[in-house]
Symmetry: C2
């Protein structure tokens, strides 16, 4: 169904549909084993059923496209209630656990991230759109905890982010290799252990 | 120089030299961008200047060979003095930091680890020869700390290993993507922050 001209089409506008088709095509090709070096804009355009100019209108190059496509695999951060630092941190860390549960996502991320030195712009883009917002959110929660006196005034917030996120990363990587499920309460257990040291006394 | 029969050759025995040539050839091919799926025993044999049977005498298949070759990239664990839990943990974590400093090592690990679902035996082998001994060593230090009363009696030792190693992993991964050097005292800072929660009071 194509509606043009006078009426706005039901559902998504056409440019948004095209963008989704391009992102899906990119992820599908990588998920099928195409490395970022091998991936071509031609192949993405053909798979998405769009012209190359439609892609170049939105993305300057392949690395920006792949970076943005990967970012769509990351679940959006939950809106946190801001009740206690503990609750907010558990909510954020649990998003990382949930991201790791999908085999396709793990597969695509592994292939796309296997040549970091060859595609620095891809990592910069992905970092900016997917990783940095999560750090900003976690930094805000920890900063609020220090300001309210819940957390130690001398807490190194960047190290605290690394400790919380890194521990979850350790478990999700191990689970990816062993195909073992992650316990539902893993985020809470990590946060509770970390807070023993972070809390004011 | 080949010495056979009566006298033992100076330097390494021939089988050990062949083994080193095979491992080096494997790592070189991967470092040049050959994925594990593409890598063939024929190519390794040609590069190492040995026959295929020499390889098969030592490794049953490609995955075992690659797993063992990757394990050689991990520095041996230091002998720890066993004075304080803190000193021993810092020594172990600093090995992880040092591993990450070599661009070639990071590159090879990234390529080899990009298809975990296709090569489960490789991961099992690598885990058994390179990762598990480190966990065993860290588990022993933490267990000794709990037994001596330095650490909390209710410490979850597996979670503590994940927290220490995962935080270092977080930094080494970030450094790999950003090409930022890791501070010399990073291991000590991670251990000191973690011990705030781990220590008995």
């Amino acid at each position: 169904m194509t509606v043009m001209g006078t009426a706005r089409p039901a559902g998504r506008p056409r440019s948004e549909r095209a963008e989704k088709a391009i992102v899906d095509a990119t992820l599908d090709l990588i998920g099928e084993g195409t490395s970022v070096s091998e991936l071509s804009i031609e192949a993405v355009a053909a798979r998405a059923g769009v012209g190359k100019t439609t892609i170049y209108r939105r993305w300057a190059n392949k690395e920006e496209l792949v970076g943005d496509a990967l970012a769509t695999l990351k679940a959006p951060l939950p809106v946190v209630e801001g009740r206690t630092v503990r609750e907010d941190l558990v909510a954020y860390l649990d998003v990382m656990r949930q991201d790791s549960l999908t085999l396709r996502t793990r597969c695509i991320m592994n292939i796309a991230m296997s040549e970091p030195d060859r595609h620095p712009n891809l990592y910069e883009r992905f970092h900016k759109t997917a990783i940095e917002p999560r750090r900003v959110a976690m930094r805000a929660v920890l900063g609020r905890g220090v300001a309210s006196g819940e957390l130690r005034p001398d807490l190194d917030i960047e190290l605290a982010i690394g400790m919380l996120s890194g521990t979850m990363l350790w478990y999700t990587k191990g689970a990816a290799h062993n195909n073992t499920p992650l316990a539902d309460d893993l985020a809470a257990r990590i946060v509770d252990e970390a807070l023993r040291g972070f809390l004011s006394r």
